[in-house]
């Protein structure tokens, strides 16, 4: 009851104030609000006149408008949470820390555990494609019957004539990259073995 009475009293008070104000204005005790507050009106037809809204009946409304589908029922909390966050082992929408990354031992970049390091691989791939282009251009369409060896700048002095006969040597004018180990050449510069062991048959 109390709040209602309070409302009624406040309304009465506002109305009484209004009446007092108008009486004071008409009797000359108080001036009207100053003319500066009035809006200056310009006689200009360019202002569009407000359209008069025609009220449609319910039947006309249904006939003339397109009605979109809207949710009819309440979604359960479970459903809403599933839509928002997903399900842990199937579709998990929350941001989770990656635990499948590791640091490359060679360069220190981070990469996925199952894959090669991206930084190292980019370097290797660039050098590899360069060498591949050189080798393919040098071999051409001739039958390939010798092992291909790549010698960088300053390395062909060490190779013997025998080595040149048994291998197809591709010479590269650039220096050997410091990360490309020279040990790879050790096997190929060895002398051919003179063992007479016979290979056993049917081993696959």
């Amino acid at each position: 009851m109390l709040p209602k009475a309070h409302l009624v009293f406040s309304k009465l008070k506002i109305n009484l104030l209004k009446i007092e104000n108008t009486l004071a204005c008409t009797l000359g005790f108080q001036q009207h609000p100053p003319l500066d507050f009035n809006i200056a009106q310009v006689q200009n037809k360019s202002f569009p006149e407000p359209k008069t809204l025609t009220k449609l009946s319910l039947k006309e409304l249904f006939d003339t408008s397109i009605l979109w589908a809207a949710p009819k029922g309440r979604k359960t909390l479970e459903k809403r949470q599933m839509n928002r966050y997903g399900f842990k082992d199937q579709v998990w929408k929350m941001l989770m820390p990656r635990t499948d990354l590791t640091v490359c031992n060679t360069c220190g970049y981070t990469h996925h555990k199952k894959t090669l390091c991206g930084n190292c691989y980019a370097k290797v791939k660039e050098e590899t494609t360069k060498l591949q282009d050189k080798i393919v251009a040098a071999l051409g369409l001739n039958p390939v019957d010798k092992e291909v060896v790549v010698l960088y700048k300053g390395e062909k002095e060490n190779a013997s004539d025998e080595f040149y006969k048994t291998h197809k040597v591709i010479e590269v004018e650039a220096e050997r990259p410091p990360w490309f180990s020279k040990n790879l050449l050790q096997k190929t510069t060895q002398k051919p073995s003179d063992s007479t062991d016979v290979k056993p048959t049917e081993l696959g």
Binding site: G108, H111, P143, V144, E147, S181
Partner: protein, 209 residues
Amino acid sequence: MANQAEVTKLVSRLKIPILAKHRRLRNPEGPQGRVKKIRAIVTALFKYERIEVYHYDGDEARGYAERLISDAIRHGDTHKETMEMADYWIEEKNLVHKLFKVLVPRFQNTSSSYTRMLNAPIPHATPEDSHPHFRSVIELRGNPFPPLIQSAVDNRLLIQNVLLEEAKKEYRAAKYAEIAQDLESRANEKSDASSETREDTAEDESQPK
């Protein structure tokens, strides 16, 4: 059963895992397209010795390349069926020479597989083994290119190892100081005890019997 041939002698035993059922490698051309794709990959592998392809295609073609090399080692270039197979699967015919004259001597004494397959780096996505667009690098072993994985790595200068080394030094220094202090205190105790015993004996001697 006695007359039945041993299966291991009919077909080369490969040193890589092979699926029980082949992959279909679905494409608009059907099974012929699959064969075409595998032929292209096998040819490229023998030509370039290191290629990067989609994992599914590459893994499928890898077995064919291994089988070709294995058969070439087993039967040599005078075996008709092996030569026909090589002629079919290798599109560029100068590489047939390479198979018998270069790859057979290279691999005839190896105990491991002839090819190697590694997962190519994926920058932003999560690689999943089942994903068909997951790329792999296949290479013939003993190729002249820089190694994909550096075996002997000098990682002394990695920040973790530098810090660990310093921590080890500090720990050792602390331990040595502790041991030195211990020895010193022991020596002091010994000297004190010996002096006491000497005094005792002196007292004993001084006392009249």
